[in-house]
Symmetry: C2
Subunit: 320 residues, 2 copies
């Protein structure tokens, strides 16, 4: 039984988690999920990354559109529009059920972990999904169009404003959700994987929660990142654009530097320049267009972790 | 310009209001709407009678099903069900927009009148719709299956438990919503019409709000009710069943007695026994299967009011 803990954000991360689930069995996968994109919209608690992972693992994601649910309908949005309500953020009819039930449950005193676990159970998702925190941590972007909330930047402004800096409002006083530190420090896991999610928008909010960075640096299991860039480009999201705006070269070397002290190794695309010295590298095709490639990349990440463990090398700041 | 104020509940009442709107012009109709059926469901503020009237006047009601919206979809409910959420109360995808926007607006400090007016404006409903109150007044039923909330009785239990008594929780301390007393006491209106809604479940909650009964008794305009029963039967709802359970004969005489002191006249179906002495009676077919019959019945009610005014007779407790 090989177990893994994975840090993940949205669509790209969810693909790798799905690969890990198929490779290792869902019950052996724990995902720590970014909640920095969460927002309250029309009074509803929306958790986009948690829901993307839920949809992906439950086989309900819209793989053609790349977000949301398959077989979704949009009557609610049409009705909202006709009533003069806000229509910049698309909420599908089926998607809405998660937000309404979550909002009611949170108002009723349940935690985001409990609600997420409850949804997962009903959809027979056996992987453990842990929000990074129960506190409100909001990714906020300082841009040439002013200070923007994440969803305003990402959805309403289509990632067009240039980013100057990023902050994670509320992270200072946030605590990791129950189980998060334990899932990272678990001596029984074979690897901790940082999914190929946007390092600045999806992984950094997780690392901003006090205690998580330290847990990662000192974890007994090897920590392996999967690079989200190759050939000077990212996949779906704005990773490459943001790196450029922040003055960072768009290559895996930059990603490795960004994670310096936190990772022992990285999966780098065959077409990408070699990253910085000091960590173990494995090369693979990092695109995940279908399930077999997701499983293959998951397998590559686990193999790299096994190699690091066998070699007994680590480039983290830890004192084992 | 003939203006009217109408007290109304759900589907049957909305039909007559639609008739009045076509007869007199929407801008000449003020509807005071029952909110005793309102509830918070899954954290959402649901106002069934207001929404039924909105749908009816906006031409969006499902006339075949008899409730809810035309061209409705049900993806939200399917999703709620799959997540183990409550599915006894059906919320259509388009319908949900009203509840979500209303809940957010109320949480944001708007009143139910403002929200309702805003919806009406967007849907170009020119009739004025006033909730009876901004306070929470909940119709509660003492039945042979115990104490039941209105929607539990009406939807979950399909009106099956026998009713012993009815209360309007919160009515004691409720105030009429702004404009309600003025709309009743308006000397410029030609009539106050009590729609053929269930007297106990739809009209009595309105009358239970302190000040409304008194305003009706002393209003300068003639007050005319349209009987909701004929031939020992009611139309869609449980009016006849409830009357029987309360030991009241199912005829217009009973309805007239129930409204005694509040009305000057009543529209009674041709097939119904003559009601009690003391009020003016007009006979008409009280069924409203199509728009022309809705307009005809509205016209009959207005004609009866005009006759009462011309005769200078009143059977109310008022001191003119």
């Amino acid at each position: 039984m090989t177990r893994v803990t994975v840090l993940t954000g949205g669509v790209g991360g969810a693909k790798l988690v799905l690969g890990l689930v198929h490779l290792l069995g869902a019950e052996n996968v724990t995902a720590i999920v970014n909640t920095g994109d969460d927002m309250v919209h029309m009074g509803l608690n929306v958790s986009p990354d948690i829901d993307t992972l839920l949809y992906t693992l439950a086989g309900k994601s819209d793989d053609i559109k790349g977000w949301g649910r398959a077989s979704e309908t949009w009557t609610f949005m049409e009705s909202v529009r006709s009533l003069g309500g806000p229509d910049w953020f698309q909420l599908g009819d089926g998607d809405l059920a998660l937000h309404v039930l979550r909002t009611a449950a949170l108002a009723n005193g349940q935690t985001l972990s409990q609600v997420t676990g409850d949804f997962a159970r009903h959809w027979e998702v056996a992987a453990r999904m842990l929000p990074m925190t129960h506190a409100t941590v909001a990714t906020r972007l300082s841009t040439d169009a002013g200070e923007l909330d994440f969803q305003t930047y990402f959805v309403a402004r289509r990632c067009e404003p240039a980013i100057h800096s990023i902050s994670y409002v509320g992270a200072d006083t946030a605590k990791p959700a129950p189980g998060v530190i334990e899932a990272i420090g678990d001596p029984g896991i074979a690897a901790i994987v940082i999914a190929p999610s946007n390092p600045w928008l999806s992984i950094d909010p997780i690392l901003a929660v006090p205690g998580i960075r330290e847990a990662l640096a000192t974890a007994p299991a090897p920590v392996v990142a999967v690079s989200p860039v190759r050939n000077g480009q990212s996949f779906k999201g704005p990773t490459a654009k943001i790196m450029t705006e922040l003055g960072i070269p768009v290559d895996s070397t930059s990603v490795a530097s960004h994670y310096a002290g936190l990772i022992d190794g990285m999966i780098v695309d065959s077409e990408d320049p070699c990253p910085a010295d000091g960590i173990q590298i494995a090369r693979a095709d990092i695109a995940m267009p279908d399930l077999s490639r997701k499983i293959a990349l998951a397998s590559d990440a686990m193999a790299l972790a096994a190699r690091i463990k066998a070699l007994g090398v680590s480039s983290r700041n830890k004192a084992r």
